[in-house]
Symmetry: C2
Subunit: 112 residues, 2 copies
DNA sequence: TCCTTTGTTCGATGTTCGTAGAACGTCGAA
DNA sequence: TTCGACGTTCTACGAACATCGAACAAAGGA
């Protein structure tokens, strides 16, 4: 569980962000995190295997959408809303709005 | 060159749109079309083979981002901005704005 | 009718992706 | 030190993707 790398704000690319958001599960994860609160990894529930969830969270992290913090043996994930809003104004809001209206990624939720 | 199918507005999905926009060439095509003017197929210039360009235009069409009209032996492509703005308000504007700032898909242009 | 133009489709190739299970590394607790 | 909990990484696999060149189909023009 070595420290994961996060892209700097100016390293975040539009294409990578849109690619990361082109999967229902990842959109669901972003939706869950969209209230700005940090979530524990184990708190996240998605209809995929643990390794697959880890993969999706990695894609989001690599694209610059989320930040993962490690505390002891467990991790906490949060949306990088501030960075994204500076980088791509209005994009996240539009995606979240659309995802809400269409109920995209509704099978992703949290225990907290 | 048979008539291509276009999804109805309510058949357009967020994930498909974001997936279609997760490629620099397709973002470039959308940017070229973003002034609302219709363009001739042969007018579009991208650094890929003809068949590959056809493929990308098909992805955009299938996702509901563009509409293709046929006139005799040639085709004309336009952005479905109205449909998209109704379906996903603010999304296209945010993407175009971000693409402009980062100069995404700049190697796609037009002869017209 | 034959040829040219225009864009699509096909076949092939190499890459990336989503998925899962198994093995692993790390940390805290017993 | 041994154990259990927590995520990551490895490995594998089928599906989807980006790409190209060649073959093709449709519509006009010579």
């Amino acid at each position: 569980m070595k420290q994961a790398r996060h892209p700097e704000p100016d390293e975040i690319t539009l294409v990578a962000v849109l690619g990361a958001l082109s999967d229902p599960i990842r959109v669901g994860l972003v939706r869950v995190l969209s209230d700005g609160r940090e979530r524990g990894w184990g708190e996240l529930r998605a209809p995929v295997a643990k390794s697959t969830l880890s993969h999706h969270l990695r894609v989001l992290r690599d694209a610059g959408l989320t930040r993962t913090r490690q505390e002891g043996t467990r991790c906490f994930v949060e949306l990088r809303r501030g960075d994204l809003d500076v980088r791509f104004p209005g994009l996240l809001a539009a995606v979240l709005d659309a995802a809400h209206n269409d109920d995209v990624g509704a099978h992703v939720h949290t225990d907290g």
